[in-house]
């Protein structure tokens, strides 16, 4: 079913831990492929291993079984074509906004001036112009996550991964940021073709994604690869929107 050699292929990935003598299965036989530019959400009950799956895709954790291919090449260690946005932002509190964004270009071999120029461009893009010299402590939660987004985008990743990126923000800020992420994704001049996002918020998944991968509770398995066929921008109050949300919700109960 999955055509190996796509943009991203997750093939039979399982993950288990041995904790204090007990064997814990976190993920079991996860398979899916992404072949075209799209936004994919991974939803599931808490503890089903969604964040673990994201960390396996990005190369932080080795799978116990199976493999992850990026353009047909196995992801081992850290893949430079991907970038991750963290739930709690993971900014360096002692660095300025600009220096935090520059961390994203750490491995890129270009002159420093060019890096600064690039960082400046991305900072502008996420709406943080004028805050280059501020430290994270001086920023609100929403602005911190904009810095996290800028840092992830500055290295031009083909795949942008996000680990519950809006869950520690208030509702209004989260909604603005969701639209910003969609705008960045739709803008062909900017890098990420694919966005993979972990969330526990089904409405958020329907609002943003083309596909919703629904995981079962532990051990996590893919119980549905749900296609969201709504036109963008999506109307949260439309009956079609609710239908999608209800269909996904019913998979859990």
């Amino acid at each position: 079913m999955s055509r190996v050699g796509g943009l991203l292929d997750v093939i039979d990935v399982s993950k288990s831990y041995a904790a204090s003598g007990k064997h814990i299965d976190v993920l079991r036989d996860i398979s899916f492929s992404i072949d075209k530019p799209e936004v994919v959400s991974i939803v599931g009950p808490s503890g089903c291993g969604k964040s673990t799956l994201l960390r396996i895709i990005v190369g932080f954790l080795p799978p116990t079984k199976g493999k992850v291919l990026h353009h047909g090449e196995e992801v081992k260690g850290v893949d430079l074509g991907m970038s991750l946005v963290f739930q709690n932002f993971a900014l360096f509190p002692w660095l300025s906004v600009q220096d935090n964004v520059l961390i994203g270009l750490e491995h890129v071999q270009i002159p420093h001036e060019q890096k600064v120029e690039k960082a400046h461009h991305v900072i502008q893009e996420v709406g943080l112009e004028g805050f280059e010299e501020a430290t994270p402590k001086e920023l609100s939660g929403g602005m911190k996550q904009r810095v996290g987004l800028a840092r992830a985008l500055v290295r031009d990743p083909e795949i942008l991964l996000m680990d519950e990126p809006f869950s520690s923000l208030d509702a209004l800020t989260a909604e603005t940021l969701r639209n910003d992420v969609l705008r960045v994704w739709a803008d062909k001049s900017l890098a990420p073709n694919v966005v993979v996002m972990v969330t526990h918020n089904i409405e958020e998944a329907v609002y943003m994604s083309d596909r919703v991968l629904v995981l079962s509770s532990r051990p996590g398995r893919v119980i549905e690869d749900y296609q969201v066929r709504l036109t963008r921008p999506r109307d949260r109050r439309s009956p079609e929107f609710y239908k999608c949300v209800d269909e996904i919700t019913s998979l859990f109960t």
Binding site: V78, S83, A90, G141, R151
Partner: protein, 550 residues
């Protein structure tokens, strides 16, 4: 001189004496901490003064005052009891301050809602004390008692060794046993002494502190959000491991049942007392006046009792000042003080540099892997639980015959007083690196010096400074012991503040000279603390404190 031959009976008796000193000092410290801490917390103006005083007392090296304390107490109570009291007093001063702070902090951080509840339901002061203040104080107080107890061993051993240095004042105890074995080159005795000391430390830890700590858990109220971060201290971690063993859990059950009976008795008698005294009595003016009268009377009585001794002390001081002025030897000592200070500080600095150089890489390795954590750390914890001073005589004997030997031995001893504070604090810092942040560093390819500069050094900066402050505190204390050591055949005195203070007591017996030395030392340390360490700490914690969600 009394010769000690290896004698199990004597060793047990000596261990018993050492323990009694520890318990007496602990009892005094608890009383002091509860009374002073509560007073400071309840009355703002008193509080500010007390806290300032405690802060200074906490930062001066207690061992420096030991010779002076011996002098003072011997003056008051004669040889046997005087030295005994001086030792207990010394250990008390090493235990009490942080405990008083913990009571103060506990009382001042009781949530306002709880105070309002006790107001609304009209609890009597006694009930308020037993149901609110005391339980609120228990967790932090017990935790600080544990810390103080671990530190107390160091001072106990040191006190017994110092007192042994001045042969007339020898105290029966494990520290003296160790010092004496070393000075007579009796290796077997020395080994036995150290083994017994470690065994006693670990046994008390197992039988007393851990049940108490488990018991205190029940008084903890969870304040939402913020968590109290416990500093990691060596001997306590062993206890944690033991606390989870099966044998211990059974023992704990038995002990808890017993403490339950005890606390029932206490609360019942408290209630009885409350009803006898009458709940309103506390509010009556007459009652308050009576209490004030009794307190004043007691204070006056004590003053009356010690006033002849104080007068005698003052007379001695005047006499000694005259003696000091007319003795060219002592004047020369006094003029050498700046040089001594220089020597002492360079020994401390050398030991500090060595500590920093080895602890940071080791802490990094320990913090990085769970396996190193569970294998290497317990080893360090056991080593750290032995007061460095206990094996100092051994180091000294080994190094004595080299020309730089005594100096090297001094630096080594200071090292034993410094390095563990630094190691355990930096390990705690390494472990506090947020997972997401190391993932982000990993993803963006931070490596080598960049990783250290951007992630590791900033994260450990606050705990490193805390560790440095405590390390220098421990170092000063070790320094005092290390600069003056008496053997059967000779006495070694190194140029330095510690050597000066001991010589002022045991060679010249001059109280004025002693006070000058203490003044110079305290002034230097307090200046160093406020000019360097406190500033560094507030700068570092402002810049590098981690907050969730940054």
């Amino acid at each position: 001189m009394i010769a000690i031959h290896f004698d199990a009976y004597q060793l047990i008796v000596f261990a018993f004496f050492s323990l009694m000193r520890m318990f007496s000092a602990m009892l005094l410290s608890v009383l002091f901490a509860v009374i002073v801490g509560m007073a400071a917390a309840r009355r703002k103006r008193v509080g500010r003064v007390l806290i300032a005083i405690l802060d200074i007392l906490q930062s001066v090296p207690i061992l420096g005052f030991f010779p002076a304390a011996i002098f003072f107490f011997v003056l008051l109570y004669g040889n046997v009891w005087g030295v005994e009291m001086a030792a207990v007093f010394l250990i008390f001063t090493s235990m009490a301050w942080n405990m008083a702070f913990s009571v103060y902090e506990s009382v001042t951080t009781i949530p306002d809602e709880l105070l309002e509840v006790s107001e609304v339901f009209g609890l009597s002061p006694w009930r308020r004390f037993t149901t609110l203040y005391l339980p609120a104080t228990v967790p932090r107080l017990v935790y600080n008692m544990l810390l103080s107890w671990a530190g107390g061993w160091y001072f106990l051993t040191a006190a017994e060794i110092i007192a042994f240095g001045a042969a007339n004042y020898a105290l029966p105890g494990l520290g003296r046993f160790i010092a004496q074995s070393a000075s007579t080159y009796s290796w077997l005795d020395l080994g036995a002494g150290i083994v017994v000391l470690v065994a006693v430390i670990l046994t008390i830890e197992y039988l007393l502190w851990h049940p108490l700590e488990v018991y205190s858990e029940r008084f903890k109220y969870e304040s939402t959000g913020s968590q109290i971060v416990r500093p990691v201290v060596g001997p306590m971690m062993i206890g944690h491991r033991i606390a989870h063993s099966r044998g211990f859990v059974r023992l704990r059950g038995r002990l808890l049942r017993r403490t339950a009976v005890l606390s029932a008795i206490i609360s019942k008698s408290g209630r009885l007392l409350g009803s006898i005294v009458g709940r309103r009595l506390f509010h009556k003016k007459a009652f308050k006046r009576a209490v004030a009268l009794i307190v004043t009377a007691v204070v006056l009585l004590i003053l009356y009792d010690v006033s002849p001794d104080l007068l005698r002390g003052t007379r001695y001081l005047v006499e000694d000042t005259t003696k000091l002025m007319s003795s060219s030897d002592m004047m020369k000592e006094m003029y050498s003080l700046p040089v001594y200070l220089g020597y002492s500080v360079s020994r401390l600095a050398a030991a500090y540099v060595i500590s920093v150089v080895w602890t940071i890489p080791v802490a990094y390795l320990i913090g990085r892997s769970e396996r190193a954590m569970s294998v290497v750390l317990p080893f360090f914890e056991v080593v750290a639980s032995i007061p460095g001073i206990a094996y100092f005589p051994l180091i000294l004997v080994l190094l004595l015959d080299f020309s730089w030997g005594p100096n090297l031995a001094s630096v080594v001893l200071v090292l034993t007083g410094m390095q563990w504070y630094l190691l355990f604090n930096v390990v705690a810092g390494m472990r506090s690196i947020p997972n997401e942040l190391s993932e982000a560093s990993n993803m963006f390819g931070l490596k080598g010096t960049r990783l250290w500069k951007v992630l590791i050094l900033p994260v450990i900066a606050p705990t490193f400074v805390t560790g440095s402050i405590t390390a220098w505190g421990g170092g000063w204390n070790a320094l005092i012991v290390s600069e003056y050591i008496a053997f059967t055949d000779r006495t070694i005195r190194l140029p330095g503040l510690g050597g000066f203070l001991d010589a002022a007591t045991f060679v010249y017996g001059n109280i004025a000279l002693m006070l000058i030395g203490l003044f110079v030392m305290s002034a230097f340390i307090i200046t160093l603390n406020s000019l360097v360490w406190h500033r560094l700490y507030s700068w570092v914690s402002g810049k590098y404190k981690m907050e969730i969600g940054t």
